[in-house]
Amino acid sequence: MTFGPYEKRKFLSGYFLIVGMLAFLLFAALGPGIYTNDPTVWYFSWQRMLFSALCHQNPGRSFYINNVQMAVCTRCFGIYLSAFTGSVLFPLISVWVKKKFKGGKILLAISLLIIIIDFLGNAFGFWVNTDISRFITGILLGMSVTYMMSADFYNSVKHSYNMEELVWNR
């Protein structure tokens, strides 16, 4: 099966739409600290409102830019950062090496398990997780999701284009 021009356009526009949204979420997650150093702006910022239903926005568990709290906590920032980076890198790498990445669901399950263990260990007092540990577990989750999704990107490219004639062909 080969994709026609309509399917190719649909596939590419869908991909760039997702990457664009992830870029927007990452930009918003940085919060108002990228253009002001006034901490009073944070509460009224559209960035805080955007994530208010999605993240606890705990000031003690967030990074700060210019003395202004980011719009999301460290773990969520790790998720958005790695989701954007992974959505750009993994599809390109899979096409570059001409190989569909496998085991995405297992990686996703492992990264979720790590977050659950980290959360429970902290909740029951076995250890105290830090901004860095929460950030890293967030990165693992975002990376595993985009790694899993890159398999579909590879399938679509394979059915849309002649892999041997791609401009970035080695």
């Binding site: 099966m1 009073t40 509460y43 955007l50 999605l54 999704m149 679509s156 059915h159």
Partner: protein, 185 residues
């Protein structure tokens, strides 16, 4: 020709958005009263902070639930684009439902919002990264921008819910199907 799912997704969307909208509303009101009835200094977190402590990104999984329900109801494999549509509609509806329920609650307890706002100001002041002048400025802004601020807040919150549920809807379409993708021959 690739298989196309023509089944209606509205029952799944409405079910998931009702569940998440009502649960999110209940958590918002419950934690709101918890914060109001405790000393701000001892709480030091906003209601959304406490909800998020229970589970971060909770409201983002409505889209995934709707996709799961749709896939199970019709026993179909759906494309990621359809998962995105199901997800974004679910997210927007969660935002609308929770907003409407919170405002209906104000008829039951008219002082809820103003009491919560006073506590929010106290919490912000207790963070310690603001000068006295900045604290006063923020308190004035919060009281003066109450109504419009709530509408804007609901609007941006709904947009955020829509975007994230769109993404979880896509992920749901990927997870809740067989290994053979619909676009593969």
């Amino acid at each position: 020709m690739e298989p196309v799912d023509q089944n209606s997704y509205w029952s799944s969307v409405i079910l998931a958005s009702l569940i998440f909208g009502v649960v999110y509303f209940a958590l918002t009101i419950g934690t709101g009263y918890y914060v109001i009835n405790h000393q701000p200094a001892s709480v030091a977190m906003s209601p959304s902070s406490i909800i998020g402590t229970v589970v971060c990104l909770f409201a983002g999984f409505g889209g995934m639930l709707a996709v799961w329900h749709h896939v199970n109801e019709y026993e179909v494999t759906i494309q990621m684009g359809r998962g995105a549509v199901i997800g974004i509609i679910t997210g927007l509806l969660i935002g609308v439902i929770s907003f409407v329920l919170v405002h209906l609650w104000e008829y039951i307890d008219p002082n809820y919002t103003s009491r919560l706002m006073d506590v929010q100001i106290a919490i912000m002041n207790s963070k310690g990264n603001m000068t006295a002048e900045q604290q006063q400025k923020m308190a004035d802004m919060m009281h003066n921008r109450g109504g419009m601020f709530q509408v804007l807040g609901a609007l941006f919150t709904t947009i955020g819910l829509g975007i994230l549920n769109l993404i979880t809807g896509i992920i749901g379409a990927k997870i809740f199907k067989g290994d053979e993708a619909a676009i593969v021959e």
